[in-house]
Structure formats: C-alpha cells, structure tokens
C-alpha cells in the first residue's frame, strides 16, 4: 500500500483569491480524502441584524458577498416584504429581474475566467473578464456601483432605468450575445478544455441531490432545480426553464454556466421588451412581525434567508444559508480520486465563494 501523506491546500493559494483551507490526504498523486476547514472570513454578520434597523440591513445583506450582492439584497427584501405583506410595484419587479440577471452574467463570466485560469488557459481568462467589463459598465450606468449596487430596498427599488437607457441596453444585447457565444464556444468545444475537464470530479444525480447540492453544481448532475421556477420577481411573467446537463463532471458544470449566460441575456431582453410603466417603490410603514424563509436563485445556487421579526424595528434573527455552504459536502465527495494537480479545477468547479460560506 502506498504511503499516505497530507498536503495542506491554502489558505493563501495562488489559484483562489479567497482563503479556504483543505487538508488533502494523498496516496502518491491521488487524493483519497479531503477535509475542509473554514473560518478565515467569518465576520458574524448575522448578529448585526440586532444593531441595524430592518431597512438598513439590506446594505449588510448586500455585503455578504460582493459577487452575488444584488441577489442577497433582493432575497432579504423579498423576505421582509412577505412578512409585512407589501406588494411591490410591477416595474420594480422587472427592474429587480434585470439587475439580478446582470449580476448573474457578471458572476458567471467572472467564474468562467477564474476557471480558465485554474486550467492554465490564461488567454481565455482575460477574454472572459474583458466581456465581463461591459456588464459592469451597464450596472454602473444604471445603479452607480460596479459590484455593490445598493439599489434594492424593502418596498421596491431605489432607481429607475430611463427608456433611452433601456433601448440602448436592448440594442447592445445582440452584439454582446454574439461575443458570449464565441467565448462559450471555446469552453464547450475546445479539445484541451474537454481533455482537462471531462470525467473529472464526477458526482451522480442521486448523490448530488442527497448531499443537498444547489445551483449549477446540482444542475450539472441532472437535478433540474432552479429557484427562478417559483416565479419570484418577474420570472413568473417571463417564464423560465432551468438549464440542465447530465454528466456530473467539471465539464458539465462549466457547460451549465455557459448556457446560463445565454439564458440570462434572453431574460434581460424579454424583461426590457415587456417592461411595465408605473412607480418603482411603495411606502413602507410599520415593522415586521412574523417569520419567513425567503429563497432566491443566486449564480451559485439557492440562497435561504430565514427572517424573524418581533414587531420592533430590529429583526430578531436573520439566518442566511448560502449556496456555497450547501455545496461544500458535494465538494468533499468530488475530490477523492482526483490527481493533486486537478484539485484547483475541482474546487473551482463548485464556484466557491468563501465570504458567502462563512458570512
């Protein structure tokens, strides 16, 4: 029997911008066990809910993660609105959808870049991030912020997008989609990419479901589960079908994200076309009293905000279960069997976002 050695991976590691530590138990080059340890970014922001008013906590919620920022704010706001029985105006729902999908676009393009980097495909990394900048330009133009937007609030949204800007966005979608398809073509069809990813880090449909995987990690294994199907914000009006792949390997997870980029562009296009007129927010009166498990689909999967109000202006409890935390058990199951050199690729394939994981 070959000798077993333990190789520490992280916390400061060139391939990940964020610190995560994994102890890899190796037999020669092969991983037989992986034990993650986290806590380098734990801030304890769930407790801040007692120090911030429920309307202010949106900003903290947004900073749970700088990549899925808008959707965190959206999920939190929807939860509070549900508890307080607030009906959000139609235009606000559509605007929220547009910004959610812009966030998803920038997050997926970011991930595709980092993923290419983990494979050593530097050129593709740069191309993905170049495309991502045009999404950030739209976000900055419409909200004022590149990665932290601050436009979602309890009762609606803070800013409107003028018709002129909407038309411009609509015009730019076609050339943007073409560029994304050119990029996606490399991820989906390039021989070197396929060689590196196919058959790596496989997780079957049943395993993925039983381990509680969410988002592209689950959909890459054939679990058709996407919270946008429940029709929150304007997804109900626009109609939505989840993107599913069945192979369950790193290539499938990558393919899901590439195809979701196309799907997001399509949703933005239809949301702009069907954008209703009207106000963008309603006045919020009173304080939340009650509890609700608010759920939304982030680029990384399903996020749960459990909110509980006791009638005061501070919520009694906010418990945030982020998709990356749910994707840790599948990751622990994916790693054994991989070569040491493939570990960064497998780790990245779940799209780890450590600041979400630890809050």
């Amino acid at each position: 029997m070959p000798e077993r050695i333990i190789v520490p991976f992280g916390p400061q590691h060139p391939v990940l911008p964020e610190p995560i530590h994994v102890d890899l138990v190796l037999e020669d080059e092969k991983v037989v066990e992986a034990i993650p340890s986290i806590g380098y970014i734990h801030r304890g922001l769930e407790q801040l809910v007692q120090k911030r008013e429920y309307t202010e906590y949106v900003y903290v919620a947004e900073r749970i993660c700088g990549i899925c920022s808008f959707i965190h704010a959206l999920c939190y706001s929807q939860g509070v609105e549900h508890i307080m029985g607030i009906e959000v105006p139609d235009r606000a729902r559509y605007l929220r959808t547009i910004w959610s999908e812009c966030s998803r676009l920038h997050s997926h393009l970011l991930w595709l870049g980092l993923f290419a980097d983990s494979m050593g495909f530097e050129n593709l990394f740069m191309r993905s991030w170049q495309l991502r900048e045009s999404v950030l330009d739209v976000l900055e133009d419409t909200t004022g912020g590149r990665v932290i937007q601050g436009t979602c609030k309890v009762g609606g949204v803070r800013r409107d997008i003028g018709q002129e800007k909407l038309d411009e966005m609509h015009r730019e979608l076609d050339p943007f989609e073409q560029k994304c398809r050119d990029l996606g073509d490399v991820f989906l069809n390039d021989e070197t990419v396929k060689y590196r990813l196919q058959g790596l880090g496989v997780i079957t449909k049943d395993e993925a479901y039983a381990l509680g995987a969410t988002g592209p990690t689950a959909r890459g294994s054939g679990v058709a589960m996407d919270h946008r199907e429940t029709g929150y914000a304007a997804y109900g009006d626009l109609g939505f079908k989840p993107v599913v792949e069945t192979a369950g390997d790193c290539y499938a997870r990558c393919a899901v994200r590439v195809k979701e980029v196309y799907a997001s562009i399509d949703i933005i296009r239809r949301a702009i076309e069907e954008m209703p007129e009207g106000p963008i927010d309603v006045k919020v009166k009173g304080t939340p009293d009650g509890e609700y498990f608010s759920r939304a689909e982030q680029p990384r999967g399903e996020v749960v905000h459990y909110l509980r109000g006791d009638g005061s202006k501070h919520l009694a409890r906010a418990r945030i279960r982020t998709p990356t935390l749910a994707n840790i058990p599948p990751l622990v199951k994916m790693l054994p069997g991989a070569q040491l050199a493939d570990v960064p690729v497998v780790v990245l394939s779940i799209d780890p976002c450590i600041s979400c994981t630890e809050r």
Binding site: Q47, Y209, G212, T230, Y306, V332
Partner: protein, 126 residues
C-alpha cells in the same frame, strides 16, 4: 411554468426527530439547511427540507444543555450545519460523521450566539 412555493412548519419532539427526518428522506426530500434561533433561554432548531419547491420545516425546541442527535447518518451533508450549530450556539450535537470538535468556524468569542455560554450580555438575541 411557474411552481407555487409552499412552506409548512411542523413541531417535532426530540425523541421523534430522527424518525421524522428518516421519513422525509424516504419521501425524497433534500436537506436545505439547519438553523437555530434563540428564543430566550432555549433554542428553536429548524430543519428545513425541500422537494419540488415544497418547503417543509421540522421545528425542534431544545434547552441550552440538551444534547441533540446528529442527522448526518441520514443526510451525509448535514455535518456543515451541525458543526456550525455547535461552534456558534454551543449546542452539543452527538454523533456527527465529520466532527470538527469546535474548529469548523473559529471565533474570537466562543459560542457567540449561545444563550448561556457566552461572555457578557453584549450579543443577546433580544
């Protein structure tokens, strides 16, 4: 096609917990999360499950020193939530499959959300 999301909360007693969870597992539910809430001297532990966007919660009320059995024998991935429960709330969870023994999330202040174990009154869940 839009699926209507429904949420139900079912109270469960400590001795029935494993049986109920087993039942949901056999019905094809997946584990969404385990989360705790301080309800003044005791904890409310929510075990959330989902199947086709139908959301089911088992709600367990436990005293601060009550030992809670781990459900990681049924749902393998439950260890992340149970370690978190132990590290942040100081709830003793018995029989976790991967037990980090308090090192999963290391905090400056031990058990910051605990009702009895934490240092001062600063972080009360009022």
């Amino acid at each position: 096609m839009t699926v209507k999301e429904e949420q139900t909360i079912i109270d469960v007693a400590l001795e029935n917990l494993l049986r109920e969870v087993e039942g949901l597992h056999d019905d094809g539910y997946r584990l969404v999360q385990i989360g705790c809430t301080d309800i003044g001297g005791a904890y409310e532990i929510n075990y959330s499950f989902d199947k086709g966007y139908q959301f089911k919660n088992l709600r367990l009320t436990a005293g601060p020193e009550t030992e809670v059995p781990s459900i990681s024998g049924i749902y393998w991935g439950a260890f992340v939530y149970e370690n978190e429960m132990h590290d942040l709330f100081g709830i003793p969870v018995t029989g976790i499959n991967i037990d980090f023994k308090g090192t999963f999330i290391k905090t400056a202040e031990k058990y910051p959300f605990s009702v009895t174990r934490r240092g001062g009154d600063r972080c009360r869940n009022v």
